[in-house]
Each structure stands twice: as structure tokens, then as C-alpha cells.
Symmetry: C2
Subunit: 302 residues, 2 copies
């Protein structure tokens, strides 16, 4: 298969996920809602619809496709994951957190709106993620919906993404060692990427063995994502990234790249790609796009 | 039935909900979680376990009891609602929002910890609410769990509580009229109180007619709660409330009390209690505690 395959799927996913998010953030209240305040809705749209690679929903889609599922429910699950991811970016950028002014080449939400609106937009985006997954439109089978909600919650709360951001803030005061950084990153970025993959297996009705294999694949992709991200913080320009770079070194923050060095980091990324390929081998040629996804994540330039 | 009945149930609920929350916020990660950072967990415990009347879980319990259900699942659903409520208090108290230093007679979370930790504790408490509801321990029936998640999401996001807080912030700049205040309050405080009642009906398997009735009862209790709250902001001392009072007038903020006056507000509260009693009449004497709950909420002194 050609090396561009996953990036084609990314573009396809971006279109369908953005159309889905656009519909979910329409002006009319959903059943059970009272009204949708315009300013908050605009801030949520600004946070969600301003680009982004849609890597996570593309992983969900490719895994679901592997198990023969490729409908609107998969797009909705991907949209829910983007809401959760978007919420975390909005809150991480806040002055009390990472204090970033730029995200995807545009002012961050608290800069474009104000701090209170950014806090609420993040809050409401988190809620929307669970709303989407629990809605019968995502899957007629309530067991699948409840499983998706629980999986996302475990990936995002105290023992996942929010906990990882807490560890990241603490890491600026007391630098963790390699093991500490690995736990931090597994929580802060790894857990949601892993769940993005697992969600496709849940939606596709994968058996326990296949699901465990996809879960491990998701862990590897998450690790590769973060290693590549740390590498880009050292090697890329702010223009290529659409956000500030050299932030980790500027804050004296230890990353795996600062521990391993650039060459050894690249070697580790290659090893992770090989591990992903080996994990996918039992699925045969149908998993070629997922193997390409691992390469895409590990070798990306922005 | 004696007038103290609902307050007795409140005390009972507080004990069971706090034991449940204590267990949910233990040090050991839940399945699917990676680790639980101590500082974040402590901030979540501080926010959740520092008192509070547990009014919302007590409503859930009394409604569930009306439909013959009174088990651990009901306590868990109440604990989930307290997590959602607790998250909203932590975020509402933030400097960028209402900037409050005192809550339930103690320093607010961002004062006792710091702002970043308070943002993350609120975020993780919101996640925990959905986590609890989606977990099979709350109900073996996934349809009920998914319905609870969706109901809570609709009550808490853009078209509910978060949206209501947005309107409340905007109300400080441009005072809304009576209709605007009613929408604001229905979203900011009403939606979660209404859902607290409806959750009991969902868990108890109430039919559509009974559920609609309970939903309307919940709306009335929510309205009474807010009217009583606005009244107490004018008439009570900070010591009795465990938080600052006279805040609305101090900010020149319009409330229903400032529109109606104190005497007319008291008359409206009486009318709401009568309406709640009429709604509950078809359920017979089994609903006496719920009628008492409406009186308790409307006539409370703190």
C-alpha cells in the first residue's frame, strides 16, 4: 500500500468529523436542553472547528473499519473524542496552566474570548463528548454506548488525561526521571490515543483478544506520538507547528528527548513502528492503513 | 407525616453518599486508569467531602424509593450528581469566574490548593460523574446507564449548567429581565435539580406519565431552590451560609427577589410548594417525603 494512505484517510476523516461537529454545535437546543447561549457556543465552535489533524478520530475509523464497521456512529465517536481533546487543549492553554497565546496558528480561546468563557467552553466540550457517546444515534446498542462512555471517562479523568496534566505541572517544579515521564505521558496524551483505537474495536464488536491487541497498538501509537511531539519541540519551527516550540527546554523541563538525545529518540520511534507492525500482523493486509498510521505518527513533521 | 422527614433523609443520604464518594476517590486506580496523582486526588476529595447538604442525591433517593428502588445503584447515581455539582462549584469559585474565597465555611479549592489544581480537580470531578453513571455497578441494565449519562450531559453542558453560568456572567454586564433570569436560573441551577429527580424515575423504571410528572416536580423544586437562595443572599448572614452573602446586590445583579421584593418572593415560594404537592397527589401518601422536600427547599434558612 502507498505511504500516503493514512494521510488520505485523515483528510477524509477531517471532513466528516467537522461536518458532524458543526451539526452538534448548531444553534437549536438538543432535547432536554433549555437554551444555547450564543457566546459559549461560539467559543466551543472556535475551539473545535479551527483545524487540527483529527488524528484520533482517524484512528477510531481505521480500527472500526478493520472490524467491518464504517457508519455515522463511528464518525460520532470520533467527534466525541475530538470534543474531549479540544476541551483539554482549551484548559491546558489557560494562564493558570501552560499560559499559551497561540494554538493551531490562531489565538487561544481565552485570548480570542476571555478566561471565564474559555473555562466554560472547555467544561461544556467535555460534557458534549459524553453526551455524544451516550446518545442512541451513536449506536443502537446501549451496552456499546455505556462501554464507550466508561472507556473515555477512564482515559480522561483523575487516572488519565487530567491526572497527566497535574503530573506535568508538578514536573516543572521537580523533574521526574524516565519512569515518571513515561507515566506522565501515558496519562496526559497516551490514554486518549489508546482509547481512540479501542473505541473502534468496541464499535466494531472485536473479540477480547483482538481488543487487547488494538489496545496495545494504541499504547504504542500514543508513545510514538509523544516522542515525536517532544522531538518536534526541539527541531521544528513555530510556523510549521502553529504553536510555540522550544517550550520544554525554555522551561528546563525534562522530556524523553532530553534524556535520550535526538538520534536515540529517532531509533526508538523506528522500534515503535516495528512493534506496531508486528502487533497488526495477525490482522493481515486489512491492517495496512493502521501500520501506516503508526509510521505517520512517528515520522510526522508537524 | 412529620415536617422533619426530608431532613432526616438528608442526613441519611449524606452518610451513604459520602461513604460512596470516599470509596470512589480511593488511592488505587480503577480498571483502565494508569495512576492517581496524590495532589489532584486530594483536591477532589477536599471539594467533595467537605460537607454540603446532599440535597440533590436525597431527591434522587426519594424519587427512586417512590418507584420501589432503594439500592447501592441509587446511592451511586446520587454520588455522580454530587461530583457534577462539586465540579461546578469549584469552577464557579475561580478568580476568572465568581472569584470566591469561601465555600461551606472553608477556603475554596483554588485558595486551599492553587488555580491550576482547582481547574483540573473540577475537570476530573466532571469526568468522574459520567464514569460513575456508565459503570455497571450503578445498574446492570446498560439502557438505564446510557440514559442517565445522556440526561446528566443535557443538564450540565452548553444547554444546561455551563450555559447558565455563561448567562450569569453576562448578566453582570447587561441585566436580563424576568424572562431572562428565569432561563438563566433554569439552566444554572434548575437543570441539575430537575435531573436529580428524573434520575430517580429512570432508576425506578417509572412509566412515561410518571416520569413527566417527576420532571415537572423537579423543575418546581429547582425554581424554589433558586428563589430561596436569592432570598437568603438578602436575608441571611455569611456565618449561617458558610459563604459570602449580599453578593448579588453588591454586584448590582438583578435577581427575582430584586424584581419581586421579599414579601412577594415568599408568596411565590408558597405557591410553588402548593404546585409540587398537587403534582405529587396522584402518587398518594408514598410521596409525602417528596412533598416535604419541596417545603424544605422553599423554606430553608441556610
Amino acid at each position: 500500500m502507498p505511504a500516503t494512505l493514512f494521510s488520505d484517510r485523515l483528510a477524509e476523516t477531517a471532513r466528516s468529523v467537522e461536518a458532524c461537529l458543526d451539526g452538534l454545535l448548531a444553534a437549536n437546543p438538543a432535547p432536554g436542553e433549555i437554551a444555547r447561549p450564543a457566546r459559549l457556543r461560539e467559543a466551543m465552535r472556535y475551539a473545535l472547528l479551527g483545524g487540527g489533524k483529527r488524528l484520533r478520530p482517524a484512528l477510531t475509523r481505521e480500527v472500526a473499519r478493520l472490524f467491518g464497521r464504517g457508519d455515522e456512529g463511528v464518525t460520532r465517536a470520533g467527534a466525541a473524542i475530538e470534543c474531549l481533546h479540544g476541551y483539554s487543549l482549551v484548559h491546558d492553554d489557560l494562564p493558570a496552566m501552560d499560559d499559551d497565546d497561540l494554538r493551531r496558528g490562531r489565538p487561544t480561546v481565552h485570548k480570542a474570548f476571555d478566561e471565564a468563557t474559555a473555562i466554560l467552553a472547555g467544561d461544556a466540550l467535555q460534557t458534549l463528548a459524553f453526551d455524544i457517546l451516550a446518545d442512541p444515534a451513536t449506536d443502537a446498542d446501549a451496552t456499546i454506548r455505556a462501554e464507550l462512555v466508561l472507556g473515555l471517562a477512564r482515559a480522561s479523568g483523575l487516572g488519565g488525561m487530567a491526572g497527566g496534566q497535574m503530573l506535568d505541572l508538578e514536573a516543572e517544579r521537580a523533574a521526574p526521571g524516565e519512569d515518571g515521564i513515561l507515566v506522565l505521558q501515558a496519562m496526559k496524551t497516551g490514554a486518549l490515543i489508546r482509547f481512540s483505537c479501542e473505541a473502534g474495536a468496541i464499535l466494531g464488536g472485536a473479540d477480547a483478544e483482538a481488543r487487547a491487541r488494538i489496545r496495545r497498538y494504541g499504547e504504542i501509537v500514543g508513545l510514538a506520538f509523544q516522542l515525536a511531539d517532544d522531538l518536534l519541540d526541539v527541531t521544528a519551527t513555530p510556523e510549521a507547528m502553529g504553536k510555540a516550540t522550544a517550550k520544554d527546554a525554555g522551561r528546563g523541563k525534562a522530556t524523553l528527548v532530553s534524556l535520550y538525545g535526538i538520534a536515540a529518540t529517532r531509533a526508538r520511534l523506528d522500534a515503535l513502528v516495528a512493534e506496531a507492525e508486528a502487533l497488526l500482523a495477525p490482522f493481515g493486509p486489512a491492517a495496512a492503513t493502521l501500520a501506516d498510521a503508526a509510521r505517520f505518527v512517528a515520522l510526522r513533521q508537524s
